[in-house]
């Protein structure tokens, strides 16, 4: 906009000829983000709704059961109420029979959060075009991710195997561990939801690891260098952080609340 009055015909044409050039006036990227990065953000938004639906399902079903009201010391597994997470998830590999409530899952969570830190470092190294550093930090991220998934595998196998003493079920038999139709810890849906939601999250971590391995190979081959930017690492990084963030929610719902 200029302040020249409408009657000044001489200079008017240039201003009237040009389209506007503001942030949202087209011909540019209003968020300063490439289309690929935007797409990743929108995909994550969409994925967030998928997880939100699962966690809503969790909340609604859990709400249908009474909370356990006795003293924590007297707690026993029962299909009548939702179990106390500390009593279910208290095992640690190599420390058989020691009661360590939530210690293992806390360790897993720490590892996953560390993998986010190394991911950030990989993205940062990409901005500096430091191929060696990108490779190094991607490898660390892949390592931490793999450790997390392995930990989850151990957690699952312990959950499926059950405790030494098992639980005396309503029909008089003793049941050890859990499957999708029956479990020793509490209502059927406790195990259903555990398998389903942590499994869905684990699948996301697994896909993330695959994507990171692709990034590592492409970095090693110099694909990103030739392309002139390491944006792919950044996009996969966004996904990786999202998966970590979702874990924080899953962790909160399943283990803390």
């Amino acid at each position: 906009m200029s302040t020249i009055s409408p009657t000044t015909q001489a200079v008017s044409d240039s201003a009237l000829d040009k389209p506007r050039t503001g942030t949202w006036d087209g011909g540019n990227e209003p968020f300063n983000a490439s289309y690929g990065k935007l797409m990743m953000w929108f995909f994550l938004l969409s994925d967030a709704f998928t997880f939100a639906a699962f966690l809503t399902t969790y909340g609604l079903i859990r709400h249908r059961y009474m909370a356990y009201s006795g003293s924590p010391e007297a707690f026993t597994f029962s299909t009548k109420y939702w179990p106390i997470p500390e009593k279910v998830f208290n095992a640690f590999p190599g420390l058989h029979g020691v009661d360590l409530p939530l210690a293992f899952v806390a360790l897993m969570t720490m590892i996953l959060i560390f993998s986010s830190v190394t991911m950030v470092l990989a993205v940062e190294a990409g901005h500096r075009f430091d191929k060696k550093d990108v490779q190094k930090w991607l490898l660390w991220t892949i390592l931490f991710g793999t450790v997390f998934v392995s930990c989850q595998a151990w957690e699952w196998s312990h959950f499926i195997g059950g405790t030494d003493e098992g639980t005396l079920m309503n029909d008089g038999t003793r049941f050890y561990g859990a499957n999708l139709a029956v479990n020793q810890y509490g209502p059927v849906l406790f195990a259903d939801l555990f398998f389903f939601i942590t499994g869905f999250h684990g699948t996301h971590v697994f896909s993330g690891i695959c994507l990171l391995i692709y990034c590592f190979i492409a970095t090693t081959n110099g694909t990103f260098e030739k392309r002139g930017h390491y944006e792919m690492v950044e996009k996969i990084g966004l996904y990786w952080h999202f998966v970590d963030l979702v874990w924080v929610f899953v962790f909160t719902f399943f283990y803390l609340v």
């Binding site: 906009m1 200029s2 020249i4 409408p6 000044t8 200079v11 008017s12 044409d13 201003a15 009237l16 000829d17 040009k18 389209p19 506007r20 050039t21 503001g22 949202w24 006036d25 087209g26 011909g27 990227e29 209003p30 968020f31 983000a33 490439s34 289309y35 690929g36 935007l38 797409m39 929108f42 995909f43 938004l45 969409s46 994925d47 709704f49 998928t50 939100a52 639906a53 699962f54 809503t56 399902t57 609604l60 079903i61 249908r64 059961y65 299909t79 499957n179 999708l180 139709a181 029956v182 209502p187 059927v188 849906l189 259903d192 939801l193 389903f196 869905f200």
Partner: protein, 617 residues
């Protein structure tokens, strides 16, 4: 594929129209010949993908319409013999009667096909793909490759759904809403066996397709608008496609969740939606699940879905009404605001589909309140359309007729929405033919009218030829009258208490007096269905033999009409035009013509510039 990718790179390079170094990219489409596979099958050109969506959509519409004619035969003549259908339906005709479970499958598949495959994929798949790059001034979608994948996932989903029609146990039969426990237990109905599994697999693929398409539409609108095309200069079509894509992006994942949980219930023995069920004298072991939970998850998609269906039609109708009334659209900003309002509200009204599930009446009244508020943006749009027509210099093109028809149907169907949105009235009317009549008018027929209007209007741009106007008129009147003759009486049938999804009412004496009315509806439906073949003939005939189109046959202002008649890959042979003005400069006082295209700078239209436009000088 290598050549295709490189052409894609060039398309991306060509987007920066203002960068001088890229000017040569504009002519890239002349450089190489594309093979048949690249051009027509695995095309990354948004225009070809749009045509693929459209033709697949037409195929599905014929299937969906045929299914409805079949069950209307049953409903109109419940006592008659259907032996003559045996060559077509085989074992589903038993002793001259339609198999009742197959009747349910017909209804289910009709709903599924029409809602998802025709009015979601066929409508926004076609026109979002076709119009977004052309109208915002882009060479193609942000990612042509993902766009191609979007179509092929849809194609795969179509193949799975189509094959489910032919399996021995029949297609899914639990309604398009697939409520468990019916849909979860194969022993409940034969359609809940393999048919339901295929349904779920098909929908999962469909959702992937929607996601790939949706992120593409959104990022394209944000990042690829040409110089000068601000959000407040976008045609209303683009606003509606943009918001439709946002709705799809946020609601389809929730259906995905629900479908995944249902798959686990059906195949892996979980109990998410199942509890305390006796079936065929046997108790199932499932406990603790909630079928109402499924309804919440389903309708969190299901309600936005009806806006995913109707909003593209609204956008196209706004555009066509303004063009053919030779007037600016009335209340451009109000139109955008109401689209935004509808989009927002669509996420917080889903439980009005569940008033009778035993929900807390207080919660019901909250949802009722929010539902009735939707009448406000809807009325804003309706009055703006009417005001656009008011004293317009109307050209009755076929597209215009269908657009006016859209407004009529939207009003007729919308009014009963206010009735049904009321929780107290809904207790009486839910699950009756009143509901069926309501949504067939307001989202089914209206969206179809939007689709037809769009096809007639943008056909010249798609195929370089015109559709036949006379056949178009025949198609319009047959359909317009047909739709009203089907759905107006259906309201009465509904008020009389006829429940949906019943195979026959011959067992109820109360309903015998309405037998004639049902017969009437069936005749009207079948005639209207056959009327569609006029359109199909017109469409395919005109692709090859239609009158050749000119560059801008409707004297329209938007950018797609600045491209050549035969639009190449990359859309504009030279530089992409820059945009100077809004898309509705029709009949501007003082202008040389009754339309000024968006790419005409104000310096060339000094006789018609308004005072505030002169201020830019």
């Amino acid at each position: 594929m290598a050549a295709n990718f490189s052409s894609q790179e060039q398309v991306q390079g060509g987007i920066g129209v203002t960068e001088p170094g890229h000017a040569h990219d504009a002519h890239h489409d002349e450089h190489h010949e594309q093979s048949f596979l690249q051009k027509y099958v695995f095309s990354t050109d948004h225009k070809m993908i749009a045509k693929q969506f459209l033709i697949t959509g037409i195929f599905w519409a014929i299937i969906g319409g045929t299914l409805s004619s079949l069950f209307r035969l049953q409903l109109g003549w419940p006592e008659s013999t259907m032996e003559w259908l045996t060559p077509f339906l085989g074992k589903w005709i038993e002793a001259g009667k339609l198999n009742p479970e197959f009747y349910l499958a017909l209804v289910t598949m009709h709903g599924t096909i029409m809602v998802f495959f025709v009015l979601t994929a066929g409508l926004s798949g076609t026109f979002s793909n076709f119009l977004i790059p052309l109208q915002i001034g882009a060479r193609d979608m942000a990612s042509g490759f993902m766009n191609m994948l979007s179509y092929w996932f849809f194609f795969l989903s179509s193949v799975v759904m189509f094959s489910s029609l032919f399996i021995e146990t029949g297609p899914a039969a639990a309604g398009w809403t697939i409520y468990p426990p019916l849909s979860a237990l194969p022993q409940a109905i034969s359609g809940s066996g393999a048919g339901q599994t295929l349904w779920l697999v098909s929908m999962a693929l469909f959702i992937v397709s929607q996601l790939l398409g949706g992120v593409n539409y959104i990022t394209t609108v944000i990042n690829l608008r040409t110089q000068g095309m601000s959000m407040s200069k976008l045609p209303l079509t683009i606003w509606s496609f943009f918001l439709t894509a946002v709705l799809g992006l946020l609601s389809f994942p929730v259906l995905f969740s629900a479908a995944l949980l249902l798959i686990f219930d059906r195949s892996f023995g979980t109990s998410f939606f199942l509890s305390d069920i006796y079936i065929a004298g046997q108790a199932l072991s499932n406990t603790g699940g909630s079928p109402i939970l499924f309804q919440h998850l389903f309708w969190f998609l299901g309600h936005p879905e009806v806006y995913i269906v109707i909003m593209p039609a609204m956008g196209m109708v706004s555009e066509i009404l303004a063009t053919n009334a030779r007037k600016p659209i009335f209340g451009y900003r109000a139109m955008i605001g109401s689209l935004l309002g509808i989009s927002l509200l669509s996420f917080i009204v889903w439980a009005h589909h569940m008033f009778v599930t035993g929900m807390n009446p207080f919660l019901g009244s909250v949802f009722m309140f929010l539902t009735l508020i939707i009448a406000v943006p809807s009325a804003v749009k309706t009055f703006n359309w009417l005001a656009t027509l008011w004293r317009g210099n109307i050209r009755f093109t076929t597209a215009m007729l269908f657009s006016i028809g859209f407004v009529s149907l939207f009003i007729a169907g919308g009014l009963t929405g206010i009735i049904l949105g009321n929780a107290a009235l809904d207790i009486q009317l839910h699950n009756t033919y009143f509901v069926v009549a309501h949504f067939h008018l307001v989202m089914g027929s209206s969206a179809f009218f939007g689709l037809w209007a769009g096809v007639y209007h943008w056909f010249p741009k798609m195929f370089g030829r015109m559709m036949d106007e006379k056949l178009g008129y025949v198609h319009f009147w047959l359909t317009f009258i047909g739709v009203y003759l089907v759905f107006l009486p259906m309201h009465y049938v509904g008020i009389a208490g006829f429940p949906r999804r019943y195979y026959a009412w011959t067992g109820f004496d109360t309903f015998s007096q309405f037998a004639d009315l049902n017969k009437f509806i069936s005749i009207a439906a079948i005639v209207a269905f056959f009327g569609q073949f006029v359109f199909i003939f017109n469409f395919f005939y005109s692709i090859f033999r239609g009158r050749r189109a000119t560059e801008n046959p409707w004297n329209s202002t938007t950018l797609e009409w600045t491209t050549p008649v035969e639009v190449g890959h990359g859309n504009w042979p030279g530089d992409i035009p820059a945009v100077h003005r809004w898309p509705y400069d029709y009949s501007k006082p003082g202008a040389a013509q009754d339309f000024i295209p968006q790419n005409v700078p104000y310096s060339q239209t000094q006789s018609s510039n308004l005072p505030y436009e002169r201020e830019m000088e």
